[in-house]
Symmetry: D3
Subunit: 284 residues, 6 copies
């Protein structure tokens, strides 16, 4: 190797040093979904990143979404869905398909992470009653089995973390009466991060981050400014619930929240281990 190349390698390793130190033993909750789950090679890069975090002593917890496979299977089974405000009205038959597809994706992701050398364990909110859920209440609208998080029971997550396992969670909740609910994965990630008092909540999305009034990417944003940008209509559409989810988590004790572009390979590593980071960070 050329000396300059060695010097550059050493530089990257040295840059990563203070971050490895700062985050040692800390919990980071990663929401993984959308485009990052689909494009070739991105899944492997994500699994590699999760394993790297784990190797250097960080405790990652993954919450994943569902993706297009749900729609594909529903269609093959001839089940049609209505959508209200972007959410699928979920009857019991649909719920069963959603749960089957999520369970399959969950174990696939577990496998990918394990093949990178970490020890992942796939969970749904049903395991040890991890996510107590209830029917989502929307004025005058019945979305069926779409739920919201009532309580996150961290005992199982913490037991697995203590033994060095990486929990990978499918966004399914269950009510006191045993009813299964489909819950938005961002919301589950936020609730899990809050319950664990996580160091970071990282939402991997399909955009580079939050944009400001002049369409410029905003690197850092306070919770208060983020709310102002929503009120001013600058943050809009699908980004609103994501930003709100971050703000809620910060209020519950999460240290920092990030909205990253999951389509950029290794965006997780670059965010956590470089000085500039990427995407938008939201701070309390």
């Amino acid at each position: 190797m050329m000396p300059e190349e060695l010097a550059r390698k050493a530089e990257v390793l040295v840059e990563a040093l203070p971050y490895i130190k700062r985050f040692y033993g800390k919990t980071m909750v990663l929401k993984y979904g959308g485009g990052a789950m689909e494009a070739g090679g991105l899944k492997e890069a994500f699994a590699q990143d999760v394993a790297l975090l784990w190797y250097v002593g960080i405790r990652p917890v993954v919450v994943h979404g569902g993706g297009p496979q749900i729609g594909v299977l529903l269609e093959r089974l001839g089940i049609t869905s209505n959508f209200i405000q972007g959410m699928r009205v979920t009857n019991p038959e649909t719920m069963e398909v959603v749960e089957m597809v999520l369970s399959k994706l969950n174990k696939d992701l577990v496998c990918l992470i394990n093949r990178q050398g970490a020890k992942a364990v796939g969970l749904s909110g049903k395991d040890a009653w991890l996510i107590k859920a209830k029917k989502m209440t929307l004025k005058g609208i019945d979305l069926g089995l779409v739920g919201e998080v009532e309580e996150v029971n961290v005992e199982l997550i913490e037991a697995l973390q203590q033994k060095g396992f990486v929990p990978v969670i499918a966004p399914i909740g269950v009510s006191e009466e045993g009813e299964t609910y489909n819950i938005n994965a961002d919301t589950v990630a936020g609730a899990v991060a809050s319950a664990l008092k996580a160091e970071k909540l990282l939402l991997l999305t399909d955009v580079p981050g939050v944009y400001g009034p002049n369409k410029e990417l905003i690197p850092t944003l306070s919770a208060r400014d983020a709310e102002a940008l929503i009120a001013d209509g600058i943050i809009e559409g699908g980004m609103i619930p994501k930003v709100k989810c971050c703000i809620d988590a910060l209020r519950m004790g999460v240290k920092k929240a990030h909205i990253l572009d999951g389509r950029l390979p290794h965006s997780l590593l670059l965010e956590v281990f470089t000085d500039k980071g990427i995407g938008t960070e939201i701070v309390p």
Copy 2:
């Protein structure tokens, strides 16, 4: 209550006493499948029994089978299967359906046990690489993704048991290369019991137990006698692999194996906590 009724109650409790003592802290692996998974009320009774074992300090591990739901979904999706020697030839498309259905059943069973007050956690062989599998080798026959157990990695099971959780395992394995395999649930139960050096392996079936030459139920059978009954053609058909699975487990250090009628409510309790037991026990 009448005094005699009280006396009878006390008698049952006193009879259970030495068994509760003998099995305290011991691991029992339960294979749950077939008719016991279908008839109304039997699932709840099974979940209750698992919880009772757990309450009195026994460490149950459940391995479940698939049941008719797999066939139903395959049919709805228009996927046809060939069967060779009673085993479904499993192509990747079929495997995906099998995994989805098993994952769904797994979490349903977890939920039922949790509602009885225990803390169950659903796993497949993919979690923390619990079941390393390889393609099943049958002379001249290719069954596709039907696998056999290569190694059971008990670290995750023991971590969960130490923290008081009940592992519930779907019979799916994964190869070093990440290929998913469908494995016979009795075999998985036997391999898990062997790896854990379990106190008991209990196979819940659709028959009262093993029958002898005169069609009488045999309460106790040595491994050697069981082999003789197979050689003599007295144990036959679907009972052969079950009995062989028990014999193998005994050779690997499991203390006792049982073949019970899962259709009898609370057969598990009656076997474990009464003097006579029920079904057939096979001893080393």
Copy 3:
């Protein structure tokens, strides 16, 4: 076995389930004395019950009384006693006899419990200064070495419980100056239950429970109602101190107190593990 018989057995076991669950790891203090210590077979049934509680994960602590053997030995030695308000005036010579007889009974009871498979350890209030006592003060009356509990030092009990032993305690206390005192066993049981914040205090007596104004057995009684019944003269005689002892324990954090008929075999089991219980329970 007949199916109905099996069903009935299963029913009893299933009925016991929620109680085994509820009381797992909890401490129960049992006062054992009077008729239950004398009749043939009752001692063995009591020892069996203590062992069963222990097997299912409950932590029993036994406090026993003295019984007629004290009188027998005093008589043989030609020592006469005066009684004031039903309490024996205890001079040093009498105290020595009381202590010798109690120590002997203590070890006999330990032996009986050990033979049922539990690991009992006999203690008096002198061991590790378990019961600090002082002279009982009664206006104008000197009862000699009759004492009352000043402090229960739970360190030894808890150390033994942690290692899985069953403490069996003789009702003897010792003052700071080393003076030995004879203390009422109900009082000791109540004080020990209070110091351990026990789940239950169970007093085994020679009557079926507390009777109401119409001579009917009262199954449940609040502490307040119990005080009213004493004030109204409905609870009377020897039952008064027993009920007061229960009320005091409830005030100190014991969850529930019971007055049972110790002459009924296995009354302990029936109280703890059946829905209806027996005798009278007093609740805060």
Copy 4:
């Protein structure tokens, strides 16, 4: 204080130094009996010594004998005993008296040690089945309930030692069938020391130690030489079983055994913490 006095004090403390170091955390079994239990002030000095050993990190275990109180009570009750070879023929009535007196002495000794600030716990061989015993077999002679040690179950002793308690043991054993036996206290001390692989077995007796052929006190004696002295008739009478008990303990792994004069105040301290020691030490 005069400088010379200070220097002398410092010298004693410095002399004790290597012994405190050498014996830190080690178990010493002390047989306490005979004259040392009777003379005024000796009991207190013994209790002080036990507490000092405990304070400096040694783990004492005390085994005590019975003494003349047994005879006194037997006489008062009009029970006569035959003696064969110096051992009391023990019928059930006598055994009861022996057990009562020993239990009383046991708790008195516990009290004395506790008052010196240690935490003693009185045990008999019945507690947690500490001493399994059987009938002593002597050719053609029936001594009744005189027993010998079959097995010492150290679990309870070690549990108490770990928690910092000092076990004080009365020499009573119990058979598998629950029969109570009276055992020689030297023998019990030797068996307990063997089972604990004790650092030292110290027998406090009524003589200064073992005497040689010229009536000189022997400070150190090998097991082999001790046997020769017995064979030659130089060690004789009541000293024979004591020396044999020491030899047996050395064979079972005890490091050193001592025969001391218990009538000399603080003989225990002087033996353990001074260069010359006192009495006779027997080494493997």
Copy 5:
């Protein structure tokens, strides 16, 4: 040995008993310096005392001073120093010599203690940033690298104590920026004792203790009285900072402080283990 000699030995051991008990597991910080470091045999006696404290379960921490060796080496190197108010103005060149000599003395002392059988570990304030220091501020005077303690980081001391090591500390501190400072050893001992909430702070000096108005040695002094004696000019000169250091430590939670004559052999032992103690004790 003569009986009277034995009795006297036993007496000293018995006198030490309550002190060994009282101080078990407690931390004592010893300032060692001045004449006690120089005279022949005194170092060995001090090392023996430290080891004895350690053997009986006390946790000693030693802070030592520099002594005349610093001046000797400075002179050999031709470095001259100015003194202001008895403190050496320390330039970087001088500081280097001070650090070298202290490090050498530190390891010599460690060696002496180890040879008595304890396990000593030599530290300076640089190890694990044990002593954060800053430049000493004196109005209008610049003493160069003479520092004062800003913070004592006890993590390393406690880790070593838990594992049974004896920390031996050289009085060197280091600032946030990495600057090395020379600090008065009495001050370091006081600060370490305060940070550890030590049971005792013992300053070994070259005088018998604190003297009162009539030149009589004062055995006990309250912090308040000590301040009065300073105000009245009775405590004067070099004794003032020592007494102030004791008073400060008492304010920070140290239980008792002592000023002893380090030139008296084994003064440490005599202070800690005898009823009268020696020197002057200062109490809160």
Copy 6:
């Protein structure tokens, strides 16, 4: 940042991944000396590397040499030394200077590492008798206080590692009799690595590695080949003892030994965390 730059950074981090995984929790012993201790900036880079190893869960142990400062101080003090076979004949006066300089360097290095955020603790072989040494024996030659390692007592190193501290060791040993010895730092590093069964022994030198017959740098060398190269005179001069030290360590259970160029900044990081490594590795 440019995407390519991000990609390159991600690549370096991903390359480091398997090494971080492989070495997690493993001990690496680093010999630090020569040119790497002198040139500007190299000390800081070395300290940074030690801290990075520590941050990612590796357990570094540093052994350092002396360097030219020893000669400088000897000269200033007018002490002259003879050299035999490249080793300084060390009389007591010289030994004192060596120890003072090494102690000073030790604490300086500790300080540098601490300023990078790790928690280093400086030790010499005297602390807790870490390095038992004896006089080096060379036929017919007396080198004075030059010693060789007799035994490495790892208790202190392991205690510090368990608590997360980085031991930094000066190459000084001490004999049973308390004599101080100066030992070659490579030898100490090898002996420490052997005693700890280290994963790696890394010797930082002033050359790029071991050269072969054609003056080419050899990346990998077996112990056997290394011995052949010495026999053939290809490895020569000062490299011989370094290579022998590596071979010895491999024989004692060290997994791999490395000879690196300490003058290349961050050579440690590049060796440990990149695929090609740098310098020469010697394997068993």
